[in-house]
Subunit: 354 residues, 2 copies
């Protein structure tokens, strides 16, 4: 059997050395006689993991002291509601809609309060210098990388003076530095670059906390998580544990600048192959907005899709079909993917004949 | 070093054979070339786990077809809000408050809508035959086992005719059969008898679904989880995977009737030791309401608490201090605990001298 290359869009590949370390101590965490998944979250061992993870993230991303770092459950769709529930306070959420996930975030915000699209783009990011914003924007929301559509902001958008930016970085968290002077809140579901599914990280400027709308569930209150050091109740200990190992791995590998360089290298291999053969492959994303982590494309001849996938699977490639909502193909290239993966996939693309 | 006995109240002990099986295939799930935590939830492998787990639970607990079984995130405190959000529909939630968790559930319900205590007891369960219920009860809510106070309902309470019972079985799920003719909804956070923290199971009668209050987050809609087979978004795959292994383990060990017998045997060992030495130990729970899974008690001489804990730790006992809110001691005895654990603890209690 050939080596397996896991191009899943998420839950995605994690660093092999992290999984090996977790496997090794899975039955007995650091000599304590129990698995990490059997330890109360109130033990020193688990509290130390959360503290370590928090400090690792603060260091890796140079997160200023005025930002709180905390962890929740419920994935991206829960944050779609938590963002307006914590930030709207009677104002309007302004959304930059660049794909499936920002569109879903806007729809959810409308359930909670007032929200509108300040821009809608397909296959590109908007130019925010001349948008008409709502009268009373509570925040400007964007999805930094649209996993399904392969659209990534090359740089953060510009919000009106004094209005905080809120970024969903679920699929490109820890893949490059973040400019904190531009952001009020950054959040990310973990299952792409960070940890197994079931964990979300929220990084929020302290002065933005404490405004939960009345009648919202108390577990939606970001300030509760900040105050209780991410433990208003039992957190997903296993995911926090793996996240801490992943953060240490990122640091050992050279930090987020190194992750950024690698993401550029990996994705360039695929975009070169795509651009070489416009007769075979189609990609509709503007070059400036091409994602470094998710490369969606189509075959010119969609009838050949099943053949292409079968041929790829014979080469050891896995989970590279497009999202159900758009079809086609998608190769996801998260931090844990060695350069060899996209190199082989690019070779395969060049060699493939319909 | 002596053998370690993990009496944690949760996250608690899991079956050793389950953890060994998970460790063994952690780097390569069933020959697919990736860890189970690296697999998309849309793969056949993960969908098969959720299906298997659902069917295992249906079989183990004889859950009738008119009940939906689904899995959420967010733990017990999230269900405290989801219950009223899905069931109130302008009516009143009636709560039987028997300890810390049912009290917290009532407080949360009051944020969401109208709710009141129909009974409040300390160290016992209420007699529900002569309670005064609210005018328009949407449901009667109870916590089947209060983990902190060690109070367990010997049998389900009686609700007014036609009013569904809602049970929090977080700490005694899968420890005994459930009478479905009496219940509308049973839910349980996983981290006691079922899986690592980060997963909640909800079992709800189908006709009770679909009533989510307006303006509530869409991820609070139980009917969404039922419709989407627990995947309205990425679920905590690792927890689902372990839960499926645990359910199979329960079946192989004789099912929930066997778990019930063992829970009675384990807890009886400790209650006997407690009752033998009222000069040393104090337990304030009425005998009919003594929990089979959490045995809290106090020393007559509270000054000796640190010594008792230190002496117990030398014997290999771990995580048996009482909950921070009540102090004292607590020995938790979940399904995975061998009889040998409480037998040794009872010996230790008999031998200990202040």
């Amino acid at each position: 059997m050939p080596q397996i290359w896991n191009f899943s869009a998420g839950p995605g590949m994690l660093p092999h050395s992290v999984l090996e370390a977790a496997q090794k101590e899975f039955l007995d965490y650091r000599g304590l006689g129990a698995s990490i998944v059997e330890m109360s979250h109130r033990t020193h061992a688990v509290e130390a993991i959360v503290e370590s993870l928090t400090e690792e993230l603060r260091g890796l991303l140079s997160i200023p002291e005025e930002f709180e770092i905390f962890f929740t459950q419920g994935g991206g769709r829960t944050q779609f509601a938590m963002v307006p529930a914590n930030l709207l306070r009677g104002k309007t959420g302004a959304y930059l809609v660049t794909g499936l996930w920002s569109a879903a975030a806007l729809e959810e915000a409308k359930r909670i309060g007032r929200a509108e699209a300040a821009a809608r783009t397909t296959g590109d990011v908007p130019d925010t210098s001349d948008l008409s914003w709502p009268e009373d924007p509570a925040y400007v929301y964007y999805c930094d990388n649209e996993t399904v559509h392969g659209v990534e902001f090359p740089a953060p958008p510009t919000a009106p003076e004094g209005v905080p930016l809120v970024a969903d970085m679920s699929s490109n968290f820890l893949t490059r530095p973040i400019d904190w002077s531009r952001h009020g809140v950054v959040w990310a579901a973990a299952q792409k670059n960070f940890a197994p599914a079931g964990l979300t990280v929220v990084i929020a400027r302290r002065d933005l906390l404490g405004g939960l709308l009345p009648h919202m569930p108390s577990m939606f209150d970001w300030s509760l998580y900040a105050r209780e050091k991410s433990m208003p109740n039992t957190p997903p200990v296993f995911q926090l544990y793996i996240a801490d190992l992943v953060a240490k791995w990122v640091r050992a590998e050279g930090g987020v600048e190194a992750m950024h360089r690698r993401a550029l290298e990996r994705s360039a291999l695929l975009y070169e192959a795509l651009d070489e053969r416009p007769d075979l492959y189609e990609t509709t994303v503007a070059k400036r907005a091409r994602s470094r982590v998710n490369v969606p494309f189509r075959l010119r001849d969609p009838e050949r899709l099943a053949d292409f996938i079968a041929a790829g699977e014979r080469e050891g490639f896995r989970q590279f079909a497009g999202h159900a909502s758009v079809g086609g193909l998608r190769v996801s290239l998260y931090n844990a993917m060695p350069l060899e993966g996209p190199r082989r996939f690019a070779e395969f693309m060049r060699a493939w004949r319909p």
